[in-house]
Structure formats: C-alpha cells, structure tokens
Symmetry: C2
Subunit: 249 residues, 2 copies
C-alpha cells in the first residue's frame, strides 16, 4: 500500500465542481504526465484538446447531454491521432494506406486511452476530481466537425476535471472471481444471475448522488436495461470513424 | 508534484526482469486497482487473465515475437468483455444485438485499457516494472483460441510485469505544442519535418537498451518506416474481433 494505490482504490467520478479554474501550470503538468505514458512502438499516435471556448464547451455538453461538462474547471478531449504521423510519412514520400487498417486505429486509440487514465489519476493526486465522458461520442460526426478534426483523427474520450463539490460513495465493484481468471476464460455457470445475487444487493445499497432519492437498480437489472438502449448517434460511431479514414479494413 | 506524478513522469518500459515471482497478494492488489478504475455506465465490460501456464506463456511470447514475455514475473491479458453482460441479459430474456455495434465494443475496450494503465502504475509504485504488449495482437485469431475466449470477448492489450533487471533511459517525447491544442485541431505547418528537426536530434541521442550499440533512427524516420510495415496478422485484427461478434456495425 502506498499513496498511489490508495488514490487508485479511492477513485470516484466527480460530476459537480466548484467554480474555480485550474491553474495553467497544473494543466501543463497533466499534459506532461500524458506524454510520459506508454505509447505503441513510440508512435505517440494521440493528441489532446483543451476546450476553453465557452461555445464549444456548451456544444459538447449538449452532445453529451450532461450540463456539468460545461461547468467543469477544465475539459479535455483525447484524440486517436495518426494525422501527424501521416503527414511526416507523406513529406518523406511514403504512402500511408496502412493507416486505414483497424490495427492502426486501435493502437492510436490505445495510446490516447492509457494517457487519459494517467491524466485523471494525476489530477486526483492534486486534489482535483473528474469524470470520463464517453458521452461525447453520442454524436461523433458533429464533434469531429466542431473540433475541426482532419483525416486520421477521431475523439475517443472526454475528461472533465475540477475542484470537487461533492463526495460520492465508493461504487461497489464485481467480486474479483467474476472478472479475473487464470490462463483461459472459464465456462459459464448455470445461472450467472443467481451467483450475482449478493452483489446485486450490495449495489442496491449504493446511493447515486445523481438521484439520491431512490435506490438504484440491481447490477443485473442495469445491465439488462442497458441492452435495450440503442442510442441512434452511438450506432453511427463506426461510420464517423470511417469518415475520418479509419477502420477501412 | 507528488509521489504519483513523480512516478508517472519517470515511466520507462521494462523488458528485462529478475527471476523473481510476484507475491499473490500483490497480484490481488493490482486487480483490485483495476476494478476501481472508471467504467463506462458501470457496465464493467472487461476482464483480466493472469497467464501462469508455461505453455501458454510461451505461445503468447511466440505470437508477440518477444521472448521476454515468457520470462516476466507475471503476465496479464486485458480483455474487452461483453460476454458476462450478454449472459446476464439473456438470462433475463433480453435480446443483445446491440453488442455487435462498434460502440459497445469500444466502451468495453476503453474499460479494459483504462484499467490496464492503472495496473501498470500501481505495479511501478511497488517497485515493479513492466511493458505493455500490443504485440499479443499479432495473431489475435490464435490468441482467442489459446485463451478460449467466448463471443463478445477479445484481447486488447498484454502487460508483462516483474522486478526490473535494467534501467533504460527516459525516452524523449514530442514537444507539447505538437500534441496539445486548444479548442480545435490546428492547421498543418508547411513542413512538419522541418519543425521536428530539433526533436529528431534529441531522439537520436537516446540509446535503446534493446540495441545499445547503435544510435536509433530520427523520430520522423521511425514513423515513415512504420508506414511500410503491414504485419499480415495485424491486418486481420478486425476480422478476429468480428469473429467474436464485435464490430458488426
């Protein structure tokens, strides 16, 4: 046990922030941390946007359907970015068709996501809180236009950070035996729902600050309901990435 | 500055390990850290395999074409996993066709990758070192068979950790101005290669422990050469994920 692990085990997503901007030196440090994260084959195939323009912030909050996006102390968008590398290669006369493979998209997305986690933890280590925003992908087509992303660049994850103005409970996770296995993926139990009964109860005891007046659904109920949602914008995510010339094959 | 950020800024990939196993309590802590990472809509759509079987380790080392994979103190494979959630929903009579959308693959991959970064940093905080293994995807079809992954489960990243037996230099990263932008993606400079000349020199001064006898290529040269590589197995990654029923649309 040490400071880093203590911090990691205490992670809560923060969605309500004090009206206090984050000092530019802190933002620089967070980007520095991002840069020191592992990167696939040293390609550094990601970039970071800091969204400071109030109009763009509001547009992103609308896409994500979450008003707190616009009120965070700082808003990052992590980009899978092969554009810089495409340009370097093209300036050397190299053709770049490999970039349309799923593989080259995925290494770029991996770079961006590993960096994003490091940035959130660094922010938390400085007394900030934050929340990842998958919801920025609710309308990736629009977001790509708003952020003026060129070919081979796509948004993969948003991150809102700021000085916390709430103290959520720690959200109970699945028992390890359901998600950590040895060597090979195990056979399914006869009834997973039965095996998860105790965990389902634990989850129901967690009160979500977003709606503190009622108990939340069991875990298995949340998962089942989630399968019914086909967000129209999210169902166009592949098309949006393909428009940027990624995932052609 | 604090312990966590110091650790993050000092990250080096470690590829040579002492012959010392990692205590099971440490592995449990690392998995606990993974579990406390953010997860999209609380779906916990990832799993972790610990590879302890020597035959499987060797098979993965062969796929990754990196012998140090087999000699690490511990080998993790991070999985994007919607299988558990599929089963929960199906037991409740819910159809699950949404899982074949790119979106549901991508949130699962995001969960797995954020957790992976947290695990590596936690390991580093305990005096361990490690290296991410994108190379396990060189033959995803074979790996899926070896690990007996069911539908809606795919490997996304490997992680080898252990007690370090090398001290690599810190690898110089791109200056921030090339990868951190405000609000929108900037216009390209006339010549990116010219602008990167100083960085190219810095990179050449870095000596890679994997081949300490020669200077490494300039950054721009490495990137250009990388575009020439179309690893046959990696070009089949999308097909392998689609075989698992992911990324159908």
């Amino acid at each position: 046990m040490n400071e880093t692990i203590k911090l990691q085990l205490n992670h809560r997503s923060i969605r309500k922030f004090k009206q206090q901007k984050i000092a530019p030196e802190i933002i620089n440090t967070l980007v520095d941390v991002a840069q020191h994260t592992s990167t696939s084959s040293f390609t550094q195939a990601y970039s970071i946007l800091s969204i400071t323009d109030e109009t763009i912030k509001q547009q992103i909050a609308t896409i994500g359907n979450q008003e707190y996006i616009a009120t965070a102390g700082h808003l990052f968008v992590f980009l899978a970015d092969q554009h810089r590398n495409a340009k370097i290669a093209q300036e050397a006369g190299q053709e770049i068709s490999v970039l349309s493979s799923f593989d080259r998209f995925f290494v770029a997305a991996t770079d961006a996501l590993l960096a994003a986690q490091n940035v959130l933890l660094a922010a938390e280590s400085l007394g900030l809180g934050g929340v990842f925003l998958g919801s920025i992908l609710n309308d990736a087509h629009a977001l790509i236009d708003i952020l003026k992303l060129p070919e081979y660049v796509v948004p993969v994850l948003g991150l809102a950070i700021g000085y916390p103005d709430q103290q959520p409970q720690l959200k109970p996770r699945l028992p390890q035996k359901f998600m950590h296995f040895e060597n090979t993926y195990p056979q399914d139990p006869a009834s997973l729902t039965e095996q998860l009964a105790a965990y389902d109860e634990t989850v129901q005891e967690y009160y979500d600050l977003r709606d503190a007046n009622r108990r939340i659904d069991k875990f298995t109920t949340q998962i089942t309901k989630g399968m019914q949602r086909k967000h129209p914008g999210r169902m166009k995510l592949l098309a949006a990435y393909q428009k940027q010339k990624f995932i052609g094959y």
